[in-house]
Symmetry: C2
Subunit: 296 residues, 2 copies
């Protein structure tokens, strides 16, 4: 039975990744920072990724075949107030994990989940925020550890993940407000910085299938961008939600500044046989139903 | 009186930098990890750069005008055995220092001392060792903190520093063996990997003058390579030492592989008015005399 260790197992992606790999027949170990959930089939364990001795002991006891590294500080806004914890969570946490694998499970396949928004120092000398820098260092460390220590590390760079579950993403926050409003019958207000901003949204369940595809067919030290390949404006988000709820949405924005659609290249992951399955509308519907309490 | 805080004050460069800036009329604060030396004029203080609260308290109490960041793990060989401590010393130590400055002394001029051997990810995807990666992340963090938080950070990238004092550099190690041999009248043996390897050696006293020049005339977020501009082979090192000692040197080498001379571009620092003063021979002579015990 293939053992998979998933870090950040209590997070938006983590919870669903644990359930997915369990259903696919894996022996699933879910690493959380503290308060391990009670679950019979998934083996939850608490481990502080900042503590390299704890991480090493965990890897030594499990010796996983696959490691899916989802844990991290994923909020760019927070990174301005907490640059040190952001850097430590994303850079040092990853380093400690890779060292644990190197020392105790060097044959394991590892997917480090970065972000499409990390910056490329060859084109851009100034990242937008400490979060972007921390994600770049995370993928740099991963790539270097793969080549320097001959480890089977692959990097996944997902776009904005949406779908059912609690997330701090803009779609989930809006769905949550709508669901609240439906219950209390108040008129909700939601603020956007620039309503014409463009994003690539991908369903979290499609992302997890992409990680599975990378474990099976991905090449060592390759980087895979995972996205829908479609650009949506925040107006598109609002429009879909308006069709899904009878409630009145009051949208405010600082300005309407036209932004070019973004085109994310997903050739590499498509070549491995992956295609997104969920439509944008389906993802937003499931997100809203989750927050209404009727999606499990 | 201008206050300068020097980290790594007990190191090869640090000891001489403290003495130099004191002589130049600065109020010198020497940060060491532990065991503060007894000295009347230099204000030594112990502080663990890995502990960001300690670092912040130190910056808050001193509020320096200049910060010369010399502390770090500077041995590439050690980095293979201790990749986590190397990364933490060079990346996290620098991050904690920059955050301390940002929060408590944001007007300060900071020189972060990197290395000419950090790698450039635009040309080379594989650094040679975890040390090279840690130095690259150190300078990347410095450059990002300068632009993202508008701090007055400059980067100095010295080549191989030589001269009087205890150092783990190849010239100092050889000088130490020669001095020992002169006292014990045994024939020493010294091993090189490739005797034809080329290096750029610079006197540590010239490097300190370069740091002073950068504090006075350097531009924010600029990077200055500090080197002699001359390439020397290890054969050149041996030749100079042979002329300085009556003792018999037995040099062994794994092989003689011809290496192209290296040319390091030092235009930027020369434009600020700096020129190296010490000749290669003088530096090696002073190094040997230091290890003989008659250089103070």
């Amino acid at each position: 039975m293939i053992k998979i260790l998933i870090t950040g197992a209590a997070g938006f992606t983590g919870v669903k990744a644990c359930a997915y790999f369990l259903k696919e027949g894996y022996e699933v170990y879910g690493m959380v920072h503290k308060n391990t959930p009670k679950e019979e089939k998934i083996k939850f364990l608490s481990c502080d990724l900042m503590n390299h001795e704890e991480v090493e002991a965990t890897l030594k006891s499990i010796k996983p075949h696959y490691v899916l590294h989802l844990a991290g500080q994923n909020h760019s806004g927070v990174s301005w107030d907490k640059p040190i914890p952001t850097f430590m969570a994303n850079a040092n946490g990853t380093l400690n994990l890779l060292e644990g694998v190197r020392l105790h499970s060097p044959q394991a396949k590892i997917i480090v989940v970065g972000s499409v928004i990390d910056f490329n120092p060859c084109y851009l000398t100034k990242p937008n925020h400490p979060y972007g820098l921390s994600k770049y260092v995370q993928t740099l460390l991963s790539s270097c550890w793969s080549t320097m220590f001959d480890l089977n590390i692959m990097i996944a760079r997902p776009s904005n993940l949406i779908g059912p579950g609690p997330s701090n993403g803009i779609c989930s926050l809006l769905a949550k407000k709508i669901a609240l409003n439906e219950r209390t019958s108040t008129s909700i207000e939601f603020h956007f910085h620039n309503l014409l901003d463009q994003r690539d949204f991908l369903d979290v369940r499609d992302a997890i299938k992409a990680y599975h595809t990378i474990f099976k067919y991905g090449k060592k030290n390759n980087s895979y961008t995972i996205a829908s390949g479609n650009s949506k404006s925040l107006v598109d988000v609002v429009r879909v939600f308006k069709d899904l709820t009878p409630t009145n949405l009051m949208i405010t924005t600082d300005f309407f500044q036209r932004v070019e659609p973004i085109r994310i290249d997903i050739k590499a992951i498509k070549l491995l046989g992956w295609e997104p399955q969920y439509t944008f509308n389906q993802s937003l519907r499931d997100s809203l139903n989750y927050h209404r309490g009727n999606f499990f």
